[in-house]
């Protein structure tokens, strides 16, 4: 049984590796996609031609040219001069008292924050679940021939998840409506400006929403009908791909508002729209935010499904139920951890782009007013990695054959803690004057070296590499490798990990000797080393499972309590962390609605204290979990099976006696 389940996981691993690789193409290809060089050139040439034409027309008519041209705040042409575009909208308004409304009971900003955050949480979940379903259904199809029972199990799980997602989908739409109404009613002046620029996007967004709903309903309600015919089943699985594509476009369109507000493009200094909506959408942070959110959604979705399964696991009354939910925990955590591993890299890419956009913004985030929130973020990320590793160790320990690897667990924990100590060491240490004197200066001569990016990058890459190693060991814990090239394979995996670790540490130390701009470049080979362990390590590991003997099946239903609680810890940490990072990203605009273009003149244009922000984040996290509980409960209403009672005296046909 486990062999067949492992085959399923093998497919799942393969699919996940491919998906993550595809996702990172924009990041790995550097600026290629982010900058759209060709599009810029084409536009610049077009703009130049228009400008010449307009001037000629103006000259012929002897009057002023009709079209006014202005310079873009962000985009530049190939000579490095600001790109010009025809002014196609009114200037940004100087917002006054009448442009803001408020209720007595709460500041408008808090209400909008709450509405936005709740919508985002749910949006994130409903975007993640179809990705899960797509992968799980695909694995189900691939395992159908070898193990029909397992295949059915996968298919049923995907369908169950989709059922919950369906309720959550309506809920998300309702929360979206609440967000929109809150925005329009409380910030009418700002909304008017944004709607003026994003008008076409709003319509496309609505149409995409319609398409998403249509595909979603066909996908869900057509499940049973398309289940048995192999061709139709593939069509059904393709629908999930389509569903994800539309969902991704939807998310990217919604992101464009936030990324425009943070780092605008496509407008001039006065905030006038310059006629190219693509420039407005495709501002500098659009791609990194998009990739970061997709990965974040997967991790968040995995956390929620995991917590749901963990809850049922703890409350399960029968061994069968326990086994089922243990298995669901396993699948959910598998996907979540796979998303978690590359997530910091996407975050790094985003921060790099923020720094490049405005040094001021980068410093406000990492060294200025938001820096302590980043310290909290560091704690939360550490908790995620601890939780993930704790789950992996505990889950691995109950697999027969894992004794071969469990002895390394303590060393992995030691490595994690040492790395996390480096990761957590702040650059500016909170201390009393007496302690400062004892230390002989503001920087500690030993641990002070851990306060800079070279150390942080090294630490986080080693932590991720360690988690990947744990993940690989978990995959192979009950396998007796039989392939003829087992020794070579093991040697390769060992070599890849050792060389990656050496490379990461060497580059980290070397970074201290280099100027900052070159040092930033070192993070690329560090990340590449880590990703090599992920991709190459997983690929070799999986290939070695061919014809492998099993030490024994996983006894589903034996998940330890520590592992189960680790899943809750992960889910709650994801939720809180998402809220925290969303707040930081948004609050870094300080007193701007749109950075340097539309000033926030509302009474709420202040930065919250850390404590106040923390309270709001905790409230949002708790509130969304209450809603998740309700949504899962609603989803379970249809799932309740009424045990069919056989009327007394009626003989049960043989085929029904099971």
């Amino acid at each position: 049984m486990f062999n067949s389940e492992a085959r399923g996981i093998k497919w799942l691993s393969g699919a996940l590796v491919l998906a993550v690789a595809l996702l990172f193409v924009p990041g790995l290809s550097g600026q290629a996609i982010a900058k759209e060089v060709f599009a810029e050139q084409a536009f610049a040439e077009q703009a130049f031609a228009k400008e010449v034409l307009a001037e000629e027309e103006g000259a012929e008519e002897g009057g002023e040219p009709k079209v006014e041209w202005s310079q873009d705040v962000f985009y530049k042409d190939w000579e490095g001069n600001p790109l010009k575009g025809p002014v196609s909208g009114p200037p940004a308004p100087e917002l006054g008292e009448t442009d803001y409304n408020n209720y007595e009971f709460a500041p408008s900003r808090m209400l909008l924050w709450m509405a936005n955050q709740q919508h985002l949480y749910f949006g994130s979940f409903v975007l993640a679940v179809p990705i899960f379903c797509m992968l799980i259904e695909f694995v189900g199809i691939r395992t159908k021939e070898s193990d029909p029972i397992l295949s059915e199990k996968y298919d049923r799980l995907a369908q169950d998840l989709m059922k919950v997602s369906l309720t959550a989908y309506s809920w998300t739409a309702i929360l979206g409506g609440i967000l929109l109404f809150t925005f329009i009613t409380l910030f009418p002046g700002f909304f008017k400006y944004m709607a003026g620029i994003f008008r076409p996007v709003m319509h496309v967004y609505a149409l995409m929403f319609l398409a998403e709903s249509g595909v979603l309903y066909v996908y869900y309600y057509g499940w049973e009908k398309m289940k048995n015919d192999p061709f139709l089943k593939w069509v059904h699985c393709s629908l999930s791909v389509l569903l994800n594509l539309i969902g991704t476009v939807l998310m990217y369109l919604a992101n464009s508002w936030a990324t425009f507000m943070q780092a605008p493009g496509g407008i001039d200094e006065q905030g006038r729209f310059l006629g190219n909506i693509w420039h407005v959408i495709h501002s500098t942070l659009w791609n990194p935010v998009g990739v970061h959110r997709i990965l974040g959604n997967i991790v968040f979705g995995g956390g929620i499904v995991g917590a749901y399964a963990a809850y049922h696991y703890l409350t399960a009354k029968t061994a069968e139920e326990k086994a089922h939910y243990d298995w669901v925990c396993y699948i959910a955590m598998f996907i979540a951890i796979f998303g978690l591993i590359p997530l910091p890299f996407a975050g790094y890419w985003l921060m790099k782009e923020v720094y490049a956009f405005r040094q001021q913004m980068g410093i406000t985030l990492m060294g200025g007013i938001m820096a302590w929130l980043f310290i909290i973020q560091a704690v939360m990320i550490g908790l995620l990695f601890f939780g993930a590793n704790s789950y992996l160790h505990n889950s691995m320990s109950r697999v027969k054959g894992s004794h071969r690897y469990m002895k390394y667990a303590k060393y992995m924990v030691l490595l994690l803690i040492v790395c996390f100590t480096m990761w957590m060491t702040p650059h500016t240490i909170v201390m009393t004057p007496a302690e400062l004197k004892d230390m002989g200066g503001a920087q500690h001569p030993i641990v002070g070296n851990f306060g800079v990016m070279s150390a942080k990058n090294t630490a986080v890459n080693l932590m991720i590499t360690c988690t990947i190693l744990c993940f690989l060991l978990y995959q192979r814990s009950n396998k007796k490798i039989k392939v003829s090239w087992a020794t070579q394979g093991n040697s390769w995996i060992t070599a890849i990990f050792i060389l990656a670790a050496i490379n990461i540490v060497f580059l980290g130390v070397y970074g201290y000797l280099l100027p900052a701009n070159q040092r930033v470049g070192l993070s690329v080979p560090q990340v590449t080393s880590t990703l090599t362990t992920l991709f190459a390590g997983t690929a070799i590991n999986i290939s070695m499972f061919k014809d492998a003997d099993s030490y024994g099946e996983i006894e589903w239903g034996t998940q330890s309590r520590v592992a189960t609680y680790a899943i809750f810890l992960l889910a709650i940490s994801f939720t809180w962390l998402m809220g925290l990072m969303g707040y930081i990203r948004s609050a870094v605009r300080l007193f701007w609605h749109v950075t340097e273009v539309v000033r926030d003149n509302s009474p709420d244009a202040y930065t919250l204290t850390i404590g106040e922000a923390g309270k709001m984040l905790t409230f949002n996290a708790l509130f969304v979990w209450v809603q998740f509980v309700i949504v899962f409960w609603v989803g379970s209403l249809t799932a309740k099976k009424i045990p069919s009672k056989v009327p007394e005296g009626v003989p049960v046909p043989a085929q029904q006696q099971q």
């Binding site: 530049k76 704790s390 957590m424 201390m431 009393t432 002070g448 070296n449 520590v562």
Partner: protein
């Protein structure tokens, strides 16, 4: 003798011998690669592992966990030098505690084994242990309460943000500067490769150290020496003659003046940031995150614009750092 008791005796006796016997010898005034406090610590760790292996004591996981936790505390409290502030100690010990927990809870068996003595103590199977624990716990809590309520006359700690965010533009000597993209007019090369030959000579940058004695023959070095002169006339009283923030007045300031040698200060910043920071000083810092507690005067009132740039040039040259730069392409929408 019980293995646990044997182990405990060896731990305590070993620690006493190491701490009072060896430790003073291993921290000479001028430590070497072999004779220093960290090598001492490693020796102590090897001793702890060694006697368990040699005597095949196989200690229970609870004892292991306790020893691991105490070894971490010993390192952070006594070995690591100079002593770290209590906020950092708490952070590190919190992490070490989590690590210890991960170690004991790595599988249900070790966790059950760890819990067993605790459960036995609580339910009364280990009677003496229960008496000790149940007396010691309230005493410890009482002591903690006393310590936290005891008045202290220290300044409270404050959460400081070290790098204020600069404004988009700044006005110095009547001229407005956009900080984004602002360059030091006296910088020849981003990486401090010097232009050889001076006027009429080759304009190619040369890598490597420049002969300081010929400084006056080269424009770049001239700017640096001028910057250095201004630094020693005005700045070194606080920032120190080695630019390490330990000038003769530094000890009366809290926080102490910036240490330019540290990789986390000027090495992480653009020159335009320094230009703004030096020109505007403490009074010019932004409102957010106040109080900044910066005693630096606004140097624009005392120095000319070129002099400020030259001082900045000198600070980078002296410390060996290079100002932070970004790829042109990533900071704009163009190619």
């Amino acid at each position: 003798m019980n293995n646990v008791v044997k182990g405990l005796i060896l731990y305590v006796a070993g620690w006493a011998a190491f701490h009072y016997g060896l430790f003073p010898l291993m921290k000479p005034t001028e430590p070497t690669w072999l004779v220093n406090r960290y090598v001492y610590f490693l020796m102590f760790v090897f001793y702890c592992i060694g006697f368990n292996l040699i005597l095949k004591l196989k200690p229970p996981i609870a004892l292991n966990a306790l020893v691991v936790w105490l070894i971490g505390l010993y390192f952070y409290k006594a070995v690591l030098f100079p002593p770290i502030p209590w906020t950092l100690l708490i952070t590190y010990m919190m992490l070490w505690t989590i690590g210890t927990f991960l170690y004991i809870s790595q599988d249900p068996k070790t966790f059950a084994e760890f819990r067993a003595p605790i459960v036995k103590t609580v339910v009364g199977e280990y009677k003496t242990a229960r008496i000790v624990v149940f007396i010691a716990l309230p005493v410890l809590v009482g002591f903690g309460t006393y310590k936290s309520l005891e008045p202290s006359f220290q300044e409270p700690v404050e959460l400081r943000t070290v790098h204020p965010a600069p404004p988009a533009t700044t006005k110095v000597h009547g001229k407005s500067y956009t900080l984004e993209g602002l360059q030091n007019p006296f910088r020849v090369d981003e990486q401090d490769n010097y232009v050889d030959g001076g006027p009429g000579g080759s304009a190619l940058p040369i890598e490597g150290k420049f002969p300081f004695l010929d400084a006056d023959k080269h424009e770049y070095m001239k700017s640096i020496t001028e910057g250095g002169t201004i630094f020693f006339q005005n700045c070194h009283y606080c920032h120190g003659d080695q630019l390490n923030g330990l000038g003769m007045f530094s000890h009366v300031f809290n926080p102490t003046p910036a240490n330019f040698i540290d990789p986390g200060t000027i090495a992480m910043l653009r020159e335009s940031f320094l230009f703004w920071r030096v020109s505007k000083g403490g009074p010019g810092l932004p409102n957010e995150s106040t109080p900044w507690s910066s005693a630096m005067p606004p140097w624009e009132e005392h120095l000319k614009t070129e002099e400020i740039w030259k001082v900045i040039l000198f600070e980078y040259w002296y410390t060996g750092w290079h100002p932070r730069t970004f790829d042109e392409e990533s900071s704009s929408g163009g190619e």
